[in-house]
């Protein structure tokens, strides 16, 4: 259970919040000019950061306000909480320089051979378990 410091209400249990995905994904200035691939990338493609990650959270059972949070996806350490619309604060936490943060490597999450074992194991699911 994360203890999340809501900027309005103070520390509350994670169950009072909803996750809003990656922060700072700007809406395209001219959506009509995007081709299908660019539109798909705007809608669905997100970073899969190992380390400090800027994300949006909603305090849904409390003040019902959105805010941004800088959270380490490895240690779950919450490094900063800041208002929507403000830029991401500089990471000072040790996690930023950790050796394992190479999620931008070209082959990290794509294509066949490198597929993580968890996804291949889904093919062994019993008949009828998947549709």
């Amino acid at each position: 259970m994360l203890l999340i410091p809501c900027p309005n209400c103070g520390s509350r249990d994670e169950t009072e919040f909803h996750y809003g995905g990656q922060a700072h994904v700007a809406y395209p200035e001219n959506p009509t000019e995007l081709n299908d691939r660019e539109w798909a990338e705007f809608l669905f493609y997100r970073d899969n950061t190992k380390g400090a990650f800027a994300e949006r959270w909603l305090h849904s059972t409390g003040c019902r306000q959105w805010f941004n949070m800088l959270r380490d996806t490895v240690t779950y350490d919450i490094q900063a909480v800041y208002a929507m619309g403000t830029p991401r604060p500089a990471t000072t936490g040790p996690a930023a320089s950790e050796p394992g943060t190479a999620s931008t490597a070209a082959d990290s999450t794509t294509t066949g051979n490198a597929a993580p074992s968890t996804s291949s194991s889904s093919t062994t699911a019993p008949e009828g378990a998947t549709k």
Binding site: N8, C9, G10, R12, D13, T15, G62, R64, Q65
Partner: protein, 211 residues
């Protein structure tokens, strides 16, 4: 304003109005342990949801009607008749006795609507949205602590404050009305669940404490 006719129409139905936990009345009475922890459903209240920027002119007009707006999380403003609970930086719950409702001779909703005027914000009659449970007694806090992660110790949760949180995994507004008394505002559809959950939490206090 446009709903005045509808409100007057409801007036004739007042006699057959049933509160969301009325079917639990006997169970609440049986499950209460006098002098230890007592639970009952409170009377109907007039409630209004208000969304307004408290620093604006319209915010000041609303505050003049309610007797102030709470400034931060936990604060409760108002008068002895009207309480204004903080739900968010620009969202408040106004709670008053049932007679304050416009359909019963009061003028609370109408005055709030008039105070907001055409300014940005909203005033919504939420009198049927939530019910109230009143939980009191020396073990009231112990019962709540079984399903509420907030620090309910009196040094942290003081009389006259209210918090929007979760109790028994459902969203509830929890108000501390006295040293050993609490008022819980669950939504109507959660009233049955919360009533039974509290009865279960209170049950152990009927037996002598095991050292």
């Amino acid at each position: 304003m446009a709903n005045t006719a509808a409100i007057n129409g409801i007036n004739g139905l007042r006699d057959i109005r049933r509160s969301p936990a009325s079917h639990l009345a006997a169970a609440l009475e049986a499950g209460s342990i006098q002098g230890t922890v007592v639970l009952n459903e409170g009377p109907f209240q007039t409630m209004a949801g208000v969304r307004v920027d408290p620093r604006s002119e319209e915010g000041a007009r609303i505050a003049a009607v309610t007797g102030g707006l709470p400034a931060r999380c936990g604060d409760v403003a108002g008068t002895d008749r009207v309480s204004v609970l903080w739900l968010g930086p620009s969202e408040f719950l106004v709670v008053a006795p049932e007679e304050a409702h416009d359909s019963l001779g009061g003028d609370l909703i109408g005055s709030l609507v008039a105070a907001l005027g055409e300014a940005p914000g909203q005033v919504v009659d939420l009198s049927a949205n939530r019910t109230t449970f009143e939980l009191s007694g020396p073990r009231a806090r112990a019962a709540l602590e079984k399903g509420c992660a907030l620090d309910l110790h009196p040094r942290s949760f003081t009389v006259g404050t209210a918090l929007n949180t979760e109790i028994g995994n459902i969203p509830v507004v929890l108000q501390k009305t006295g040293e050993e008394s609490f008022r819980l505002f669950p939504r109507a559809s959660f009233a049955d669940f919360l009533g039974r959950w509290l009865l279960d939490a209170m049950r152990e206090f009927a037996s002598p404490e095991v050292p």
